[in-house]
């Protein structure tokens, strides 16, 4: 079972969405986004109708992303558990809802213009995380600050 967070976990989701016609049906996504879980940062590259790349990166790579999603490991687990339980994020756990609920926001960016990719491609990114309902996730111990 893929461990969250890990490149393996994100690749498992990537493989699911890339073979899902419904994901393609949402339309093109062109964005480089990040997922920050404790001290770990993962870069997800979306191009055209696919997620084309997953890799673990460092703090300095955040500047090259359109935006990254950041919350505590416990909050990430709550979100993913909610998705697993319901098959998709329920009314209180969508990416946008979480973004508006966290004091510093869920979607963060060094660039006020590029951050808008969170809105433009919101449903595709939501679908990406919703795909985690199709795998059994285990969780890494609380990430240790590097």
């Amino acid at each position: 079972m893929p461990v969250f967070p890990s490149v393996e976990w994100f690749n498992a989701i990537k493989d699911i969405v890339n073979s899902d016609p419904a994901f393609r049906q949402l339309g093109t996504v062109d964005s480089v986004i990040g997922a920050r879980v404790g001290s770990k940062i993962y870069e997800l590259t979306f191009e055209a109708f696919e997620c084309t790349g997953v890799r673990e990166v460092g703090e300095h790579d955040l500047r090259d992303m359109d935006f990254w999603l950041e919350q505590t490991p416990a909050q990430w687990q709550e979100m993913l558990d909610n998705i697993k339980k319901n098959g998709a994020a329920d009314l209180t756990h969508t990416l946008n809802t979480i973004d508006l609920s966290l004091p510093n926001g869920f979607a963060q960016s060094h660039d006020g213009y590029r951050r808008d990719a969170f809105y433009r491609f919101n449903q595709s990114i939501q679908d990406f995380f919703n795909a985690s309902a199709k795998i059994d996730t285990t969780y890494a111990p609380e990430a240790v600050t590097a």
Binding site: A48, T94, T97, L100, Y113, Y119, N122, Q126
Partner: protein
């Protein structure tokens, strides 16, 4: 009709050899008055040498014999037999000829028609095949398919700073003198351009959705009256302003000259997005036992409607107002009462983010190319922010409806008003951040009525 032998031009000879028309046939046709271009055209159409001979014979009074029925009918209506034979040789069907006669078409009219290229044998020009446009263009599809950006190759991708044509001639085509003006008023790239408008167009096309069938309408359950009234008022407000935006864009679209078709196409998708928003929010208002509410006083709308140049309109509509609408959609998504409303607000949010993107990238393009317009943009925003704040004072319905919706009921309106202020704060923060990216620092010049939202 001249019968002397004429010289066969080299291009006609080459075509005749390819299509197996003998020299004597070609010479006869040229002698009968056919132009080299016409002959090449006939050969390219697949007319055989035999057919060509029949036609020439008919022109000289020969041609296929008509049936007795046709001949009798022709005699009744005074169509000479040579006319019948010519028409048949040219490819006309007997049934068609008889029908023309029944319609009352005279022999003279029939001759005129055939001289103009009717009866199956058009008069050909074909000079258009030699226009000096860039040829051998081979745009290739990519992962995104074959996109607008992908076909901007060579001269077709040269987007001039000034477009010199008044007509609907496509960029890269050859103009014809004397074509009537379309009455465009926008000919400068800096007035409308953004470097990503072609990409935004493709994104808009790819990310379409269908309110009638994509929204999970059956997930809407009866709501308490105050919440239903609140969402219906919100839907009324949104429907109104999205229609207004579509109308405004629809008036500007014909002003933009054809050289900037990427912008025109993207704006067309925005009008479609506006229409979709009008549709879906009106549908929500009329789907759960409620109805529409009160219209908006529209103070903010006037600064958009009254804009005298495109960038003024774009800055006010797309950067200021649509930034707020985007936040309204984001907060609507968060506080949605059912999956249907969640879906609607989330999709509308995506659509709105595209036009905000265009607005801010267009503004940056203007700043990069016409830095002298910087203070002009600030003045537009001075005026527009003031007018938007008039709506705050004179439009309690929108504010209170959102507050009830966010708070979860009329009894929680004060909690909802706090959330409403938070939404306005986020709008101002994001608006300033976007402007900063476009090199406009508005922090010090922000209207005091908007500044209050970001002050602790």
């Amino acid at each position: 009709m001249a019968n002397e032998t004429v010289a066969i031009p080299a291009n006609v000879r080459a075509k005749a050899q390819e299509k197996q028309w003998p020299d004597d046939l070609v010479e006869s046709a040229l002698a009968a008055g056919a132009t080299p271009e016409q002959l090449i055209g006939y050969m390219d159409q697949g007319i055989s040498a035999d057919q060509a001979r029949q036609f020439l014979a008919a022109q000289a009074g020969g041609g296929p014999e008509p049936s007795k029925e046709l001949a009798d009918k022709a005699a009744l209506v005074n169509w000479p037999i040579d006319l019948i034979k010519t028409a048949l040789a040219a490819g006309a069907a007997e049934t068609d000829l008889m029908r023309f006669m029944d319609m009352g078409i005279t022999a003279e009219q029939a001759r005129e028609f055939m001289a103009g290229g009717g009866a199956g044998q058009p008069q050909l020009d074909l000079s258009w095949m030699n226009v000096p446009t860039e040829w051998n263009t081979r745009a290739k599809p990519t992962k995104h398919g074959l996109t607008l950006e992908g076909i901007n190759i060579g001269r077709y991708g040269e987007i001039p700073d000034v477009w010199p044509y008044q007509t609907e001639m496509p960029r890269g085509a050859v103009p014809i003198p004397g074509v009537e003006s379309m009455g465009y008023s926008i000919f400068e790239k800096q007035e409308v351009w953004s470097d990503n408008c072609a990409r935004l167009y493709e994104e808009a096309i790819q990310r379409r959705w269908r309110p009638a069938t994509d929204v999970p309408w059956d997930t809407i359950q009866p709501l308490p009256d105050d919440l239903e009234r609140a969402i219906c008022q919100i839907c009324t407000h949104i429907s109104e302003k999205e229609q207004m935006e579509a109308d405004v864009l629809g008036r500007w679209e014909p002003d933009i000259s054809y050289g900037y078709h990427e912008v025109k196409l993207f704006l067309a998708t925005t009008i479609f997005d506006n229409a979709r928003a009008v549709e879906v929010f009106r549908k929500r208002a009329l789907s759960n036992g409620g109805g529409l509410g009160i219209q908006s006083p529209g103070w903010g709308f006037r600064s958009i409607v009254d804009a005298r140049n495109f960038t003024e309109m774009a800055v006010i509509q797309f950067v200021l107002h649509d930034s707020l609408t985007l936040m309204q959609y984001a907060y609507g998504e968060k506080y949605a009462k059912n999956p249907a409303e969640k879906f609607i607000f989330a999709r509308a949010m995506q659509d709105k983010a595209r036009i905000v993107d265009y607005g801010i990238t267009h503004l940056k393009f203007v700043m990069m190319h016409r830095a002298d317009r910087r203070d002009e943009m600030q003045r537009y925003l001075d005026k527009a922010e003031g007018m938007m704040l008039q709506d705050d004072k004179k439009d309690p319905a929108t504010r209170e409806a959102f507050a009830i919706y966010f708070g979860g009921g009329k009894d929680k309106i004060h909690e909802g008003l706090a959330i409403y202020r938070e939404m306005r704060r986020k709008h101002v923060e994001q608006y300033l951040a976007r402007l900063k990216w476009a090199t406009i620092d508005r922090a010090e010049r922000l209207d005091p009525g908007m500044r209050v939202f970001i002050q602790d």
